[in-house]
């Protein structure tokens, strides 16, 4: 099966007063229909810029996608003109954001916003589009969808708004859904509902999902493949089971060691007063990266080579890639 989304060699930079910021460097991945790929990393690792690059929503200037291709069903989005790209957004590739309040228009009813999308992309009549909007709200399990369609975003709770945004994103049945921290602003019980919802809709529509998150728990729960990013580059990629069972790169290994777990309830081996493993230091500034591996200054395994040369991203084990001289 050919992947629905194929990203290769994507690099995005920002021209700033403080110099060139290489936000995303040489990032490649592909996602099949119905599959979820998670991109994990901490703030400043380039995961959100990757997501925005896929949608070609990078503010330009100061941003610029300098190389690579983003193919959806074989069409390279980076080669399209802006009007052509506008047609792709929503119909072939859609995005949901962390804070639905800022992504929804506060002056338009939720139903109308969804209907506009449908009219724009499917050329549907007003009545058909309106019915579709209500149907979509019903689909994302919003109770009383016909009444809710006439409400404004501020009249809804955070979870409800996120559902409305998902309804809008999926209204035209896009092939690819880019979800940027879709549950970070939500409470855990609501997060669980939304993750379930995305999963169910994905199965139903066969959507390929790119999930951007910093939460390893969310990754383990919903993703099939994982890309770990650090300082703008991919440092590891594997199937989710592989990555959590034996991470190769010291950064994801450190991350997994540094998170406390809700464990004893499930009979896991968690001794209560154990110190968390720390990753010392902090994320480097993207306009001032060290010459070698960007993680070397924080890495306990780093040697002279790590500080001098950027490690290649290569196959280390079957279907398990990493960029590390020591792995």
């Amino acid at each position: 099966m050919a992947p629905v989304l194929e990203v290769s060699g994507l690099s995005t930079v920002f021209h700033t007063r403080r110099g060139l910021v290489r936000a995303v460097q040489d990032v490649s991945f592909s996602v099949n229909a119905g599959e979820t790929l998670a991109i994990v990393g901490e703030s400043g690792c380039g995961k959100t810029i990757t997501a925005l690059s896929l949608m070609r929503l990078i503010p330009q200037p100061p941003g610029e996608i300098v190389s690579g291709s983003v193919k959806v069903d074989g069409t390279d989005l980076l080669k399209l003109s802006e009007p052509e790209m506008r047609k792709m957004r929503g119909s072939k590739i859609a995005m949901i954001f962390q804070e639905p309040m800022t992504a929804l228009n506060p002056l338009m009813t939720v139903g109308k916003q969804i209907a506009e999308m449908v009219m724009l992309h499917d050329g549907a009549s007003k009545q058909v589009a309106r019915d579709r909007a209500v149907e979509m709200l019903h689909h994302v399990r919003i109770p009383e969808p016909a009444r809710r369609a006439r409400e404004y975003p501020h009249q809804m709770s955070g979870g409800m708004r996120q559902r409305a945004m998902i309804a809008m994103a999926l209204a035209c049945k896009p092939k690819v859904l880019v979800a940027d921290e879709p549950t970070t602003a939500l409470d855990v019980t609501i997060q669980a509902q939304i993750l379930d919802l995305i999963g169910d809709l994905q199965k139903e529509f066969g959507t390929a999902v790119v999930l951007i998150t910093h939460d390893l728990g969310v990754v383990a729960e919903v993703a099939q493949r994982v890309v770990v990013m650090y300082a703008g580059r991919k440092v590891e990629e594997a199937a989710v089971g592989d990555l959590f069972a034996h991470p190769l790169h010291p950064y994801p290994r450190g991350l997994l060691g540094s998170i406390p777990r809700v464990g004893s309830a499930r009979g896991l081996d968690v001794s209560p007063d154990e110190r968390l493993r720390e990753i010392t230091g902090m994320v480097p500034a993207l306009n001032d990266l060290p010459p070698g591996c960007a993680f070397a200054p924080r890495c306990s395994l780093a040697d002279a080579k790590c500080h001098a040369q950027v490690p290649p991203f290569e196959l280390k084990q079957p279907d398990h890639f990493a960029a590390c001289w020591q792995a």
Binding site: E42, S157, A192, V219, V262, A265, P272, E278, I279, M282
Partner: protein, 322 residues
């Protein structure tokens, strides 16, 4: 465990009036905190968990009288801080401090980090200028910062470092009790671990008591000795950490635990979701506040509010069914 608790809170209530119209008449109340009681021993951490709007942050601020409580008593070291005047309260503030969630807005951007940390010393007239500076340098080292960074402004620090500055400020007066309001929620995962370890080291070395407020159950489980779970202004379950996480009794605690995504794909979770949103604390549901979302709710739950009652040693739950 027979000791007098350092912090004893009982029957704490905080209602925020909703005012309307030209004359600002009170038309209703947000019952942010509605009868909360707990105690914390010296050197102990009480974790306070709950979702947004449950009143946990209001508890943290009210306990320090940063917000005036509507009712209830708060004893710290035996002194009831709700009964003292402003002057006496200011003196008592030496014993209790707070660390906030947002590392950006919790430090005044116009003041140097060294002055921020030294401010409490100045307020209470501790030492002369030189002694204060030496003490601030010590505090910087204690929280893992370099004394040279005293001259930096807050924006020159990273999020994790700012949180260290906040912690140093809280420790300046050697308090016994610190309210930590979501101190790691705004930090990156790898930085979270650094701050959690720092808080735990400080507790061990200085016998600090923490009221650790968080929505992150994993962090609470890691750092707490005992845990209180809040829902819409009330504590619904209060227990030893191990007991609570091993076998939650209240259906809400159970739902919270089930909802936490686990960083282990090998664990196939049973889908066990609570439906619906958290209701508004302006007009909470009748009876047990959780009943509209509770899978086990019975007729009784809809009318009668359950009281927090003892179920075993040091364990309390507010549920008719458990």
């Amino acid at each position: 465990m027979e000791q007098t608790p350092l912090v004893e809170v009982s029957g704490l209530r905080k209602f925020f009036p909703i005012r309307k119209g030209l004359l600002r008449r009170t038309v209703g109340n947000v019952r942010a905190v509605d009868g909360v009681s707990f105690s914390i021993n010296a050197g102990e951490t009480l974790g306070l968990v709950g979702e947004s709007g449950c009143g946990k942050s209001t508890v943290g601020r009210t306990v320090l009288r940063l917000i005036e409580p509507s009712a209830g008593s708060i004893k710290i070291n035996g002194n009831d801080i709700t009964a003292v005047g402003k002057q006496d309260l200011r003196a008592l503030r030496r014993q209790m401090q707070i660390v906030f969630q947002d590392p950006f807005s919790s430090l005044n951007p116009r003041i140097k980090a060294g002055e921020i940390v030294g401010e409490p010393l100045k307020v209470h007239g501790v030492g002369d200028r030189g002694e204060r500076e030496a003490k601030v340098a010590d505090l910087f080292r204690l929280v893992g910062l370099r004394p040279a960074q005293m001259n930096n402004y807050p924006h020159q620090f990273s999020g994790g470092q700012r949180q260290r500055v906040s912690i140093a400020r809280a420790l300046a007066l050697d308090p016994g009790f610190i309210v930590a309001d979501e101190p790691v929620s705004a930090l990156d995962v790898s930085i979270q671990a650094q701050v959690i370890n720092l808080l735990m080291d400080l507790q061990r070395d200085r016998k600090l008591s923490y009221l650790f407020i968080s929505h992150n159950l994993a962090v609470v489980e890691h750092i707490s000795h005992r845990v209180a779970v809040m829902y819409l202004g009330r504590i619904v379950e209060y227990a030893d950490k191990t007991a609570l996480f091993a076998k939650p009794l209240h259906p809400y605690t159970e739902a919270l635990l089930a909802a936490v995504p686990l960083p282990d794909p090998a664990l196939k979770r049973t889908k066990h979701r609570v439906e619906g949103d958290v209701p508004s604390p302006i007009n909470p549901p009748s009876g047990c506040h959780f009943h509209p979302r509770c899978p086990y709710a019975e007729a009784r739950c809809r009318v009668e509010a359950p009281v927090l009652r003892d179920v075993g040693v040091g364990r309390q739950v507010a549920c008719h069914l458990r």
